[in-house]
Amino acid sequence: MLPDIPRDRQLGILRKMLMIRRAEEHVIRFNEDYEGLLRGHFHVYIGQEATGVGACEALKPDDYVFSTHRNHGHVIAKGGDPGKVLAEIIGRETGYCSGRAGTFHVAAPDLKIIHTSAIVGGCLALAAGTALASQVQETSTVSVVFFGDGAMEEGVFYEALNIAKLWDLPLIFLMENNYRRAGRSGSSHSAKELANVARALDVETTIVDGDDVGAVYKATTELVRRTRAGEGPLFLEAQTHPWPGNESTHPKLVAGTTDIKWAWDAGAVPENVRSWYADGDPVLRFARELVSGGAARREDIEQLDTAVREQADAAARFALESPLPDPKDAVKFAYAGRGN
């Protein structure tokens, strides 16, 4: 659905979704085209853009966001610079974390993404901690923690949820159900509906179509309003559909670069992945919604995509041309204080 916001913000949402797609297409090309540039395996957010962008659109700049191993999209969704994201992914000094974090742990403290864990449930308790800080400092800031369905297999999920509820913390648990677990399909959980786990702790839950950016924006806006008002933690499940290129530890551009024209010409999509792009792709879906809702013409959207691609290309060049960290600085950030 089209989010109920001014047209320029609607187009801003599409711009961010496209930027995530274009930036991550570069990440995959870094792996495919440059031997040894990406040192190990990596994960991308392609196919989940609607959830990250829709949710972050509902936040204020000072609100905390926590992410996962699939963080590139969340950082861009919170307003991140794609050049600094790509530079971090390939370990450059100009990256968000000066090359210390790499693809798994991109943090952007100036965007209030203060730490990123690649342990699937690693940030759940930390997010309850930033929410506690907001409560103690009596600010109106809220925290949102993104995590996948797999994180609900870890014990820290239960402990963080329980304490957040006991202490009425201003926190949204935003579970991105991508029905994918470390190469297997679906998480291993005895609960048939994962939201029931949160319900058992008396945390109110909402389930939303995670491919529908307008629906995610609407749901998050309402939940953020309520937790900001002191209603305690709330749980949002965004249901998404795994992108077919993401089936291995090294994602592949199974359909090549996404062509924005596929939004109106499904027949042009390579046949093996046609159903995902025609029905499941949240970016193309929103492009169609903007056109059918009268917010933009096809050519407006194609122009926007061209502009985003140019920006993403420039970001990739910036990353590739950026210097690597100085080996003498390898132990520089062990301690803020004297350390040793």
Binding site: N162, R338, N340
Partner: protein
């Protein structure tokens, strides 16, 4: 006027001052002391600062992570985990999140959290309540380790952790030392991390001792002095950062080193300190560096078994005697 008090009272005093001075200080967990006069003092604090005292459920993993996150967002939390072995439940959040965030962010995210825990062989704690995880945490870059052995050091070091530090600190108080008495200087003061103190001067052998081993080493030095052996006792006070200069200077003076800590022999704190002395102080040494710590067995319950594995005054004396016999 300087006052005599227990370590427990000194710790509670430091917490009270920190809560008073800095609104960012919050306490998550118990009351630091489980017995003695510190308990009443803590009960008064809990009333006065109720809003900044959080009593979590039995969820070490959850609340240790919450404290780390709160620290990242600008608070200065003190977490009382209670018995040090309970922190094993929270290792993922302490070791794999709190300790790494500053480094991972390229120096942007500070985590000024203090994890307080009572460690060591308390007497009858058995295999799960006698733990000494200081060597685990020392093997975790990003964490600081404070191990005070006197009320004065306990107060000064805890104030530094709560009010000055920008990095996560594991604060070890030995269960058997909580009611140890000593004189605490008047007024507010902090002891910077990374400053060892020579607790007793000597010429013949250096005893480097941490935490509960400091009073044991001082008693050992007393016994040795009656035998004509002059032992110097050096307390690093913080294992990380470590005042290597002071340790090496003492070894240079005496030419012999005994290192004692109440963690296990294998990769323990004593082993780590011994390695530094062997590596960087080899030319000062007239005898091999010796360790007095816990043999590699889970700490057993029955009295004679527990006594056997404890690094006692007698074991320190015995090893020191052997070290100086060719003097």
């Amino acid at each position: 006027m300087p006052q005599e008090m227990t370590i427990g009272e000194a710790l509670v005093g430091a917490v009270g001052e920190a809560l008073e001075h800095d609104r960012r200080v919050v306490l998550i967990g118990g009351g630091l002391v489980s017995s003695g006069p510190g308990q009443a003092a803590f009960a008064r604090l809990r009333q006065k600062f109720a809003k900044r005292m959080k009593s979590p459920p039995i969820a070490e993993l959850g609340y240790c992570g919450i404290a780390a996150g709160a620290a990242m967002a600008g608070l200065r939390p003190l977490v009382d985990i209670g018995t040090a072995t309970f922190s094993y439940e929270a290792i993922p959040q302490i070791v794999n999140e709190a300790a790494i965030a500053y480094s991972n962010s390229g120096g942007q995210t500070n985590v000024p959290v203090t994890y307080f825990m009572r460690y060591g062989i308390r007497g009858g704690g058995g295999v799960q309540h006698s733990g000494s995880p200081q060597s685990w945490y020392w093997n975790t870059p990003g964490l600081q380790l404070a191990m005070p052995a006197s009320p004065a050091d306990a107060k000064g070091l805890l104030r530094t952790a709560l009010l000055r530090s920008q990095d996560p600190t594991i604060f070890f108080a030995h269960e058997r030392l909580m009611n140890e008495r000593g004189v605490v200087p008047d007024g507010e003061y902090e002891i910077p991390f990374g400053q060892a103190e020579v607790k007793r001067e000597g010429r013949d052998v250096t005893i480097i001792a941490t935490g509960v081993q400091v009073p044991r080493a001082l008693r050992a030095a007393e016994i040795l002095s009656k035998e004509g052996v002059s032992a110097e006792v050096v307390d690093p006070r913080t294992v990380q950062p470590l005042d290597k200069t002071a340790l090496l200077a003492s070894v240079k003076k005496t030419g012999r080193a005994l290192v004692t800590d109440e963690s296990h022999d294998n990769c323990g704190v004593a082993a780590g300190l011994a390695a530094i002395i062997a590596d960087e102080g080899f030319t000062s040494l007239r005898a091999p560096v010796k360790r007095v710590s816990i043999p590699p067995v889970p700490v057993p319950y029955a009295v004679p078994l527990e006594d056997f594995v404890t690094p006692t005054v007698e074991r320190i004396v015995e090893v020191a005697r052997a070290l100086v016999k060719d003097r």
